[in-house]
């Protein structure tokens, strides 16, 4: 009993000291502070790729990387509340066509539908402070050749002429990385069933994905879809 109490006190003290003396990393605050650096023209429409590029360019650990990537919506470019819960969904892997499951942090539920329908995932490898890591990222096709590039999106963020602007966004196999699929892995059958039967990723998305583009009012409306389709 005495030993247990001693351990309890030790743990309490360790945590307390961290709370007292260590400045806990506040990823959300850091993104807010640097927001005007990420979006100098203050237009963040569909600019998830800008967040991703800003984060991947930092000298950080893999944990930092995943935490930062929970705080913006890859579809809309909105910041997300730090306490938000992700949607479990899948997207098609570009190379194999295989369904890859994982968590997606979104600003609102229509974005989950849009990312499932209009993005594809690719496996990416990156060297962080704590070593090389593999992970899945959401990507969209190079939008720079589009004649109907959405005018509410800052084209300079994405494009250098008809090429992807590598200084502004992350280019992976001539696709634009728009965000991170958290805990990405090949889907099991029951996981696919779960996504398909879920009230958001199943029923709601079916409704949204069958709505004509001009009638889409929720989420980012048609801005992201026009960019990604």
């Amino acid at each position: 009993m005495k030993k247990i109490l001693s351990k309890f006190i030790l743990i309490f003290l360790v945590f307390f000291q961290f709370e007292t003396f260590a400045q806990e990393k506040n990823y959300h605050k850091e993104l807010i502070t640097d927001w005007s650096r990420i979006f100098p023209d203050q237009n963040r429409n569909a600019a998830g790729p800008k967040f991703f590029k800003y984060i991947i360019d930092k000298e950080i650990t893999y944990k930092d990387f995943t935490e930062f990537n929970k705080l913006y919506c890859a579809v809309s470019g909105s910041l997300i509340d730090p306490n938000s819960e992700p949607d479990f969904l899948y997207a098609k892997e570009s190379k194999s066509g295989e369904k890859i499951c994982g968590d997606y942090y979104k600003c609102c539920i229509p974005c989950s539908c849009d990312i499932m329908k209009y993005s594809e995932v690719e496996k990416m490898t990156h060297k962080f402070l704590d070593g090389l890591k593999d992970f899945y990222v959401f990507t969209i096709r190079n939008p720079c050749k589009k004649k109907d590039f959405p005018d509410r999106v800052n084209k300079d963020y994405f494009c250098d002429g008809e090429e992807i602007n590598n200084n502004q966004v992350y280019n992976l196999n001539d696709r634009v990385v728009i965000g991170l699929l958290h805990e990405g892995r090949s889907c099991k059958k029951e996981e696919i069933d779960f996504v398909k039967s879920h009230q958001v990723t199943g029923r709601f998305c079916e409704l949204r994905n069958n709505t004509p583009l001009e009638n889409l009012k929720t989420g980012m409306g048609d801005i992201f879809i026009k960019l990604a389709r």
Partner: protein
């Protein structure tokens, strides 16, 4: 000799002696007794046999019953070395020999035993007055011997139960006592190791000093001398309620403003700042009226001047009506942009262009366009002082748009907020104060954000870095922020006035660390705080904190004063500019053996409010060699030596 019964239970030191008077035998017994605990620890039992036909010998026999060493004399060290190298097999079930030995016969209590229940009860009763440790040892020994007795009887079972019960009872009692001790230790430790939470009732509520304190909608507060008698008043704005001037007299705060142009109940005043706009040595009062949330408003602002004991609104003079401010606004600050004592007024408007009023050719003009200040934003707070240059710079905290950091380039302003990383675009600015966060002799910026992260900006390498810790930056419904030394300990506190949420107080200790002071008095969890200001209104060397409340619910004013150590000392520095008016925007720096501590002479209007035009310093322990430097609004400096404390020192600009 049959030693089979000891196999796997103990090692044997078998001594064969021709007789028990043999000197070698006596010597062995003596040595064994002197090291008996060591031998027992290694399960070595001494067995002696006399055989007149044999010569003296010592045989060390292992657990397996086999001889390990034959010796002619006993050398404990050698025996222990041999034993300690021996392996311990799974078959070994050693007997605890200590249970059957009397290590200290002199202290032995006789008559104790375990043959039956009665003997056990007698044993416990006999030793009950001995020390607890002794009792535990005896009971444990008796219990062990009874349990392991080779010829255990049925009666011994009764004794075992008695001893077992006694030990269980003892353990329960001990656990309870240990728990209690541990809890006490936890409480003591918790109190000792909480370095960043100081639990004390910091403030004393002295609201009862305010005479006639009805519930009302109050907003901004300024501190100025409205009747030119050399004493400061708290000027409290009213939103559809009269503006007040609370003067201290004979232990009470009483409203002395009765003239309609000042009290002006019909207009809705929220922002207020005072400074000498007309260069007569006395401060005018700018009342910022807002009858709408944003955009165009109905009633303009007032600039109150006192002439022959009568208040007049300078904006009501015909020649000044050209540039009236008819945009909703929040805060107003006095800016001596040219450093010559000619104050202008920065009006932080909401949903319309910022205005900057100055008297030029005896006429009030809006100079915002020519000074690059006419930006449209959601203006909230504005402060002015030596932020970047030797002239009066401006920091404006805005809503729904970036903050402005306006660098004074020879009287014209350039917004450098982005470059200096204080633009904070997606947060909504509120309470703002200039504070020497690192006690390094320069003013940095504290900027609160409405339900956003509060900032403690410190200038490093031409950029402001936010060093606020997680307790300080925690989002809240922030209104006014005040940086001042309330308790005269030589360290500034930061008072955060929240609306419909408890207020907060932090002490800035060394290296920019913010230590939260848990408030009891002054917490106001149900208070609709709308503004606050400090002044030593009763001139006793301790600051009073006046909090105005209202907005969505009428509430009365509250007044607080820190509970100060009776031995504490203070120093108050009151700089006056060349016209004899308070040098708003000047910086006072206290130089001692312990710190270089700058304070601004508040130009207004962190959020709606403005503090007294005095730099108030509490004095630290063992602090000495006091000097004060005043940096005037033109960047020139005066250094004076302080020879005594507990005084207000007035320094006039030459």
């Amino acid at each position: 000799m049959n030693l089979e019964k000891y196999k796997w239970k103990s090692r044997i030191l078998l001594v064969i002696t021709p007789n028990f008077k043999d000197q070698s035998y006596q010597k062995v017994k003596k040595i064994y007794q002197s090291k008996i605990k060591e031998f027992h620890k290694r399960y070595v039992k001494l067995i002696c046999k006399s055989n007149k036909n044999k010569t003296f010998s010592i045989n060390l026999i292992g657990f397996d019953g086999k001889s390990k060493k034959i010796m002619s004399d006993l050398k404990p060290k050698l025996v222990f070395q041999i034993i300690d190298k021996m392996p311990l097999g799974k078959k070994i079930k050693p007997i605890n020999l200590s249970l059957y030995s009397d290590y200290n016969p002199k202290t032995t209590t006789h008559g104790l035993g375990f043959k039956n229940k009665e003997k056990a009860l007698f044993t416990i009763n006999t030793i009950k007055n001995r020390s607890t440790k002794y009792q535990v040892n005896v009971v444990s020994t008796m219990l062990g011997r009874a349990k392991n007795h080779p010829n255990k009887t049925k009666d011994m079972g009764g004794a075992i139960k008695v001893f077992d019960d006694w030990l269980k009872k003892y353990k329960r009692k001990k656990l309870k006592s240990n728990m209690s001790n541990f809890l006490n230790k936890i409480i003591i430790l918790t109190i000792l190791i909480i370095p960043n939470i100081v639990n004390a009732d910091f403030f004393e509520d002295i609201t009862d000093k305010i005479v006639d304190n009805p519930k009302r909608l109050s907003y901004g507060i300024s501190v100025a001398d409205i009747n030119q008698n050399g004493k400061y008043e708290f000027i409290v704005t009213g939103f559809g309620y009269p503006n007040l001037a609370l003067s201290y007299d004979n232990g009470i705060l009483i409203n002395i403003a009765s003239q309609n142009i000042f009290s002006d109940e019909s207009r809705k005043t929220i922002g207020v700042a005072a400074c000498d706009v007309d260069r007569d040595g006395y401060e005018e009062i700018y009342f910022l009226n807002t009858d709408t949330y944003s955009g165009t408003k109905k009633y303009s602002d007032r600039l109150i001047d006192l002439e022959e004991n009568k208040f007049l609104d300078m904006f009501e003079i015909e020649k000044n009506k050209e540039d009236l401010n008819l945009t909703a606004g929040r805060s107003v600050a006095c800016v001596d942009r040219k450093g010559n004592g000619e104050y202008g007024l920065y009006i932080s408007n909401y949903g319309g262009p910022t205005r900057f009023y100055e008297i030029e050719d005896k006429k009030i003009r809006d100079k915002s366009v020519s000074l690059n200040l006419d930006k449209v934003t959601g203006g909230r707070a504005v402060v002015s002082g030596h932020i970047l240059t030797d002239r009066s710079d401006i920091f404006a905290a805005n809503e729904r748009g970036p903050n402005f950091l306006l660098k004074n380039n020879n009287g014209v302003f350039e917004d450098v907020a982005f470059d200096y990383r204080v633009d904070d675009v997606i947060q909504n600015g509120r309470g703002t104060a200039l504070s020497d966060i690192l006690y390094r002799g320069r003013l940095d910026i504290i900027s609160g954000n409405w339900q956003g992260y509060h900032r403690a900006y410190v200038l490093r390498d031409n950029q402001f870095k936010d060093i606020g810790n997680t307790k300080f930056d925690k989002p809240s419904r922030i209104r006014t922020i005040i940086s001042a030394d309330f308790d005269n300990d030589g360290y500034d506190e930061v008072f955060m006035n929240n609306i419909a949420e408890p207020n907060k107080l932090f002490r800035i200790i060394e290296n920019g660390a913010f230590e939260e002071i848990i408030l009891e008095t002054g917490l106001e969890p149900d208070g609709f705080g709308t503004g606050a200001a400090v002044a030593d209104i009763d001139e006793d060397g301790i600051l009073e904190l006046l909090v105005s409340r209202g907005e969505s619910k009428e509430q009365s004013l509250t007044l607080y004063k820190a509970k100060v150590d009776k031995h504490s000392k203070y120093l108050r520095i009151k700089p006056l500019n060349k016209f004899g008016a308070p040098a708003r925007g000047a910086t006072v720096t206290l130089l001692t053996n312990q710190r270089k501590h700058s304070k601004t002479i508040d130009a207004g209007s962190g959020y709606l409010c403005q503090m007294e035009p005095v730099a108030h310093y509490g004095i630290r322990k063992n602090e000495k060699n006091f000097k004060v430097e005043v940096k005037w609004t033109d960047g020139t400096k005066n250094l004076i030596k302080i020879t005594s404390l507990n005084q207000i020192v007035t320094i006039k600009q030459k």
